[in-house]
């Protein structure tokens, strides 16, 4: 029976030969993840189960990143609860500030993810790890609690969608634009309950960091997971992060898809998703004059070193517009260190940017750059819902890194070509 990578991983973890869409299965998990918002309720539920130990001390990852460094007393209490839980049950993978990073940037970078793994995380952007050929999906706190106790989780096998990208990328177009464009085409529920597989000659040339950006936003189309096949680029990345043994999984040529979408990327220019849905996309050239108060470069979507290099290319020798606050958030300690080594930090600070320690921070209106009433921000983050970055009457426009950097200089939504 022909299967996709997603089906193969689900079947293997359920002890089955195949997994058919709609089938309800129970799977063993390779990794369970939680952050400082979702772990506290999971810990409470875990204690209610009444078990004396977790299923595997090495397979649970606790990363306080949303309101860390603790933004107030209540946040500090939530992180404290995680710390005490980690100590009580001997969970080794608990990452405090100083060694932490935004969870979805940190885990691939530290070699915690390998192809063929089945991963659940109490964070919707857990779908990021599909970039490395893993089945990875977001769940809630109760699922996290149950998995910490049993090492298992139930799934309905999703239907499969395939996205094929061909053609030549236009200048300044990034992986972010491919995924924003795709969400713009199919809508925020276009892949609801379904698996999104990304393929084609354009994808073959994308770096792993770029693939992480695309997989990260599968959830913004309602997808259960986003996934990529394994190729030379995957292997090279895994060698660098010391992951050596993993299965080589591919979708069978005659695997069945509910739908196949073909996109010619030559027609895609940098995209801007207007408030208040990631699907509300417009080409940057048709954006008109939208004045901004803030630009945010970072997050689990676009906070890796590749992103920082793009930002530096635009900002080198330039000044942030006097009416704009530019906030740059390297996603991990390693990204920050690499920024210093490559001289990017100096470029950013001289340009007038504020560079933060790793945190989700403003992406969800937490801290480190919350918007006031009526303010507008352009951001490389993943959501532009009402009130997402602060006041319910503030606005977030989503874009790639180059556009967010160029807009910070121009004082309005702009393409690097406009500078």
């Amino acid at each position: 029976m022909a299967q996709t990578i997603t089906q193969k991983i689900l079947a293997k973890h359920a002890g089955l030969r195949s997994a058919e869409p709609g089938q309800l299965i129970n799977c063993k998990v390779d990794l369970v993840l939680g952050n400082d918002i979702t772990s506290p309720p999971a810990i409470k539920e875990f204690e209610r189960i009444g078990v004396s130990k977790v299923f595997d001390k090495k397979k649970i990852f606790l990363v306080p990143d949303h309101f860390a460094p603790a933004k107030d007393i209540k946040s500090a209490e939530q992180i404290k609860m995680m710390r005490e839980f980690a100590h009580k049950y001997g969970i080794v993978n608990f990452f405090e500030i100083g060694c932490m990073g935004i969870e979805h940037a940190l885990l691939p970078e530290m070699g915690a993810i390998k192809p063929g793994d089945l991963i659940i995380g109490a964070d919707s952007h857990t779908c990021t790890y599909g970039a490395l050929g893993a089945f990875s999906t977001g769940v809630g706190s109760t699922d996290m609690a149950a998995a910490m106790a049993t090492g298992e989780v139930w799934f309905k096998v999703p239907e499969q969608l395939k996205f094929v990208y061909t053609g030549k990328l236009q200048k300044w177009v990034e992986a972010k634009d491919l995924i924003l464009y795709t969400i713009g085409q199919i809508g925020v529920d276009g892949a609801r309950y379904m698996s999104m597989e990304f393929t084609g000659p354009v994808i073959d040339k994308l770096s792993i960091e770029s693939r992480l950006t695309m997989a990260n936003m599968a959830i913004e189309a309602g997808g259960k997971n986003g996934i990529f096949g394994i190729d030379a680029k995957t292997k090279q990345y895994l060698t660098k992060v010391h992951v050596t043994r993993y299965p080589l999984l591919y979708s069978d040529k005659d695997a069945e898809y509910k739908q196949i979408y073909d996109y010619d990327v030559a027609e895609i220019e940098p995209q801007v998703a207007y408030p208040h849905l990631p699907s509300n996309t417009h080409p940057v050239s048709k954006s008109g004059h939208i004045k901004i108060d803030q630009s945010v470069i970072g997050s689990c979507t676009n906070g890796r070193i590749e992103d920082m290099r793009v930002a530096a290319k635009i900002l080198k020798g330039k000044k942030v517009h006097p009416d704009v606050r530019l906030i740059i958030l390297p996603a991990t300690q390693n990204v920050e260190l690499q920024m210093i080594k490559e001289g990017l930090m100096e470029i950013f600070i001289k340009a007038g940017a504020s560079v933060s320690t790793p945190t989700c921070g403003p992406c969800l209106g937490g801290h480190m750059g919350v918007l006031a009433e009526g303010e507008k921000a352009i951001a490389t983050t993943n959501r532009n819902f009402v009130g997402r970055m602060g006041h319910p009457k503030s606005e977030v426009y989503l874009s790639n890194v180059a556009v967010a950097a160029a807009s910070a200089v121009a004082g309005r939504i702009a393409s690097p070509e406009d500078l």
Binding site: L24, I37, T38, P40, P41, K44, E45, R48, I49, G50, V51, H66, F67, D72, K74, S75, Q78, G121, A122, D123, S124, T126, G138, V139, G140, S141, T142, D143, A145, A146, A149, T150, W154, K156, V188, D189, R192, Y193, I219, G222, K224, L277, L364, G365, G366, R383, F385, V386, G387, R388, P392
Partner: protein
């Protein structure tokens, strides 16, 4: 138990009601249900949590609960005393979370379309029958697969696990 019928008035919301609208991140420094309930639906309707009465229903369009995985969203709604959410469709993580915490949700495109704000409705959660007492119409929601019904009947995933795996204790 969720097996008895419930009745109350309807609050209508549109498509793509995301979890930031249901409970904004600025309130996520706690997971206390009573605290969360005070700010439920705040960015969609700032007065909703004060106006609504326990027993009421939300009737919404497509993709209810999209966005973040925060279980705080169904927890907040449940703690207001809301009887259930009826929608044309639900986002998948919200759907899982609602079942896992034993908060009733029903999928019915017809009910979502036709039931009006302020209507009084009665819902039998066992059969999935929705009666609009104001218009006199009756709707049948999509039944849950048997496995999910077991979780719902147990009162959520944790209680179900304790029943299924007594060895866990």
């Amino acid at each position: 138990m969720l097996t008895h019928g419930r009745s109350g008035h309807v609050w209508k919301f549109g498509n793509n009601i995301d979890t930031d609208l249901i409970i904004p991140a600025r309130y996520l420094t706690t997971s206390d249900p009573v605290e969360l309930a005070k700010n439920a639906m705040e960015d969609a309707d700032p007065e909703w949590a004060d106006k609504m009465n326990p027993g009421d229903f939300i009737v919404a369009g497509d993709n209810f609960g999209c966005g973040s995985s925060r279980e705080h969203a169904p927890i907040a709604l449940k703690a207001t005393g809301l009887s259930a959410v009826i929608a044309r469709s639900f986002a998948r993580i919200f759907y899982r979370n609602a079942i896992n915490i034993g908060f009733p949700i029903l999928e019915s495109p017809e009910a979502a379309e036709e039931i009006k704000e302020g209507d009084e409705i009665e819902v039998d959660l066992t059969s999935g029958t929705i009666k609009d007492l104001t218009s006199g119409k009756t709707y049948q929601a999509q039944p849950f697969p048997e496995f999910m019904q077991k979780i719902i009947k147990a009162g959520g995933l944790i209680k179900y696990l304790r029943q299924q795996h007594p060895q866990l204790r």
